[in-house]
Amino acid sequence: MSTILSLAGIVKRFGGLVATNDLSFDVAQGESLGLIGPNGAGKTTIFSLIMGEHRQNEGTISLDGNEISSLPTHARIGRGISRTYQVPRPFAEMTVAENIRVGLMPDSLRGMLFGASDPQAELDLAQSVGFSGDDLDRYPSELSMGDLRKLELARTLATGARVILLDEVFAGLTAGEISQMADLINTKRKEGFTFVIVSHDLRSLEPLVDRVIAMARGALIAEGDFTSVMNDETVRSSYLGT
Amino acid sequence: MTQILIQGFLLSGLYALIAVGFTLIFSVGRVLNLAYGAYLVIGGYAYFWLSQTLGMPKIVGVLLAIVLGAVIGISKYRLIVKPLKGDHVAVEISTLILAVVVQAGIVLLFGDASKILHPIVSGVSRVGGATVTYNILTAAVVSWVILIGLYLFVRFTHLGRALEAVSMDVKGAAISGVDPDQMNQLTWAISGALGALAGVFFASYTQLYPGMWVTPLIIAVAVVIVGGIGSILGTLLVAHIIGFMEVISTSLIAAELRGVFTMLLIIVVLIIRPKGLFGRAEL
């Protein structure tokens, strides 16, 4: 398996606080990687560094073998990587269809001006994450947390990204919504998407990942398959807070 | 040279007084009160009406102007800012509209022409070739007393600490038993009172006219942007930078250009540091 996303020697400091400390890992093409760790371990920071929302102080991030560290967020998305957020961020005064439409837009003024929107593509994407055709005209305020996460996933998929970073994708969902979301992720895995998933819900995470990385205080403390990481002494103690 | 130094210090004191009420709202309420300048107009005209038209003692005029400022501050918070629930854009727009409404109301009541205020404290003395009116000297001294008082209040009183807590983290403060709504109301009252007081002095330093809110607003804005949000030391520092720039450009370059440097300062600082020189988080 070839490496698609690679982080090498990432250091990020916020003022005096070290958020990630010399962190390196690779993600293989088509792999699903779980990222776990206690609160404040630096998982979300990793996502925002990969997406260019913050810049690392040291180290390199590459996608498909090309360094992307100097690119702004939208350009990284153009290279095929995108993320969701712990707190979904829909466009509040736009319908489901319009939210997806923004994700589908090409990043070119000419394309946005003269290219027509593609209702079929919007419908396909909405259906691919489990919406029905009737949902297209609904507004975010009418949606449940599960639907909001689906909408955010649809918008993320709409950008054409093949590597998807999911941040706390199960938070705030009912049991039914969790299993729906899990099915959805597994379907997308089969379609060849690469995932990095951050979750506190370890039980839901287990069947979705090929491999797990555990972090604590900004550093990588264990790496391997789910069971071996869970049985790791350092991981256990970091979760217990000792 | 002495002239510039003395004038600079006195004017800077006045500017610090103008700015402090504005930074207070910016830091505690986290909103941009574009109607801040209206307090100055209202304070100035209230004092004018009370002491020069009705002939009340000057000190009564000043005190009543301050009270009026506080009342208007509270009403502004209750009627406009609170219902808009911290929507920054809406607060900016509605306070801008309010400022124009106040200006128009003043024209309706007092007419368009500018008025001359008698100095609140009369008398002049000459220090090393510089003319110092007791009026602006009083303004500067009052400003210093208020700034130091405010600093001590925030630092050492329970209420002051509660205010500071709200300015840092509304939810956190609420959890620890501080009522952010009450704190906001208090801040708006203090801000209004300080604005009205500054208005009395500013009007007696320049002139009293309905459009006199724009210049102080720009000064206050510059102080907040350059000096940092809610920093009393920063307020003082920047008020002095602006005050001295004005005095120097007035006496050495051209009187018409005195406001230009304030604007340039705002623009340059924001362009170099989009979040302000000592900016704390985005607004």
Partner: protein, 311 residues
């Protein structure tokens, strides 16, 4: 191209144009002159709204943009005898280029600070036009005797109507495109727009350039309608206030809103003139604007369309 345009929309536009073009037959010359002012205000309000109403970046500096356009053509035609056919396009180009140079750094700034910088620009412009090269700008007194393009109210009306109509139609097309959707998305959550793979700086710059071009064009034609220009009338908070209030009470982020707001305000002003000759009318303006804004921030357009839906 724009998929969301259908014949019904075009029919409405045609009816609107036909109705407006009949006005010179129906109303008095005096009313026509009021309509001309309303149409220029509508152009400015639409220009403001395309930037601020859509993206949520509040510009307090629109008089600055209008002023660049107006002063450029006034100076070129009055001082240097440049023909108007040339000076107006130059004025529009100058507004766009000049304002982009000034504002490009400002576009990095978010939220309230953007509004403050634009306000500072307007005040700066006011002070500078009086001091720098008064031989060109006419200083505090401004310039009068500038060539006018039309004679009589009727021709003035036709010209300003064409300008307003073309502006409205072009901005409407833009807002119906995907680009319009993306601009509105910026006001809702700018980070999420970037997170959808779009370059928000490019989008904001585009909105800004369009807004500046419309403002510059409006300003240039306006000065050739009035025949005079002075800094206090232009770089004035009351002027800024009128533009913003027109856009807001009509309904921000729409096309009909700023136009309706501009007509409403201008006619209100006309009717108030006998009773309130001076600046007091801003009390009424502001009072109405504040009430409407506090009640429904989306303006009359939203109030009317809600009533419509209920009925």
């Amino acid at each position: 191209m724009f998929a969301t345009v259908n014949w019904r929309h075009l029919l409405l536009w045609a009816v609107f144009a036909a109705g407006m073009l009949l006005l010179p037959e129906l109303v008095k010359k005096g009313t026509l002159r009021t309509i001309i002012m309303a149409q220029y205000l509508a152009i400015f309000a639409m220009s403001w709204d395309f930037l601020s109403g859509r993206t949520g970046y509040i510009s307090f500096g629109h008089p600055f943009l209008i002023g660049i356009g107006a002063y450029t053509t006034a100076i070129l035609s009055y001082r240097f005898g440049v023909p108007v056919e040339l000076s107006i396009p130059i004025a529009v180009a100058t507004t766009v280029v000049g304002s982009v140079l000034f504002f490009l750094p400002a576009l990095r700034i978010r939220g309230s600070y953007f509004a403050l910088v634009t306000l500072a620009f307007m005040e700066l412009m006011y002070q500078l036009t009086q001091v720098i090269r008064p031989d060109l700008t006419g200083g505090t007194r401004g310039i009068s005797g500038i060539e006018t393009l039309t004679r009589g109210a009727v021709n003035g009306f036709y010209l300003s109507f064409v300008l307003m109509f073309v502006t409205a139609f072009v901005l409407w097309l833009l807002s119906r495109s995907r680009l319009g959707t993306a601009l509105s998305a910026i006001s809702m959550n700018e980070d999420a727009v970037a997170g959808s793979g779009l370059n928000t700086t490019k989008l904001k710059l585009f909105a800004f350039c369009v807004s500046a071009a419309v403002a510059g064009m409006g300003g240039a034609f306006w000065v050739h309608y009035l025949g005079s220009i002075a800094p206090r009338a232009l770089f004035d908070i009351n002027f800024l206030f009128t533009i913003i209030v027109a856009a807001l009470i009509g309904g921000a982020s729409t096309i009909i809103g700023p136009m309706a707001g501009a007509f409403f305000l201008t006619f209100l002003l006309e009717y108030l003139r006998p009773f309130l000759p001076g600046a007091e009318r801003y009390l009424i303006y502001g009072g109405i604007a504040l009430l409407i804004y506090m009640y429904q921030p989306k303006g009359l357009f939203e109030i009317v369309s809600r009533l419509w839906r209920r009925a």
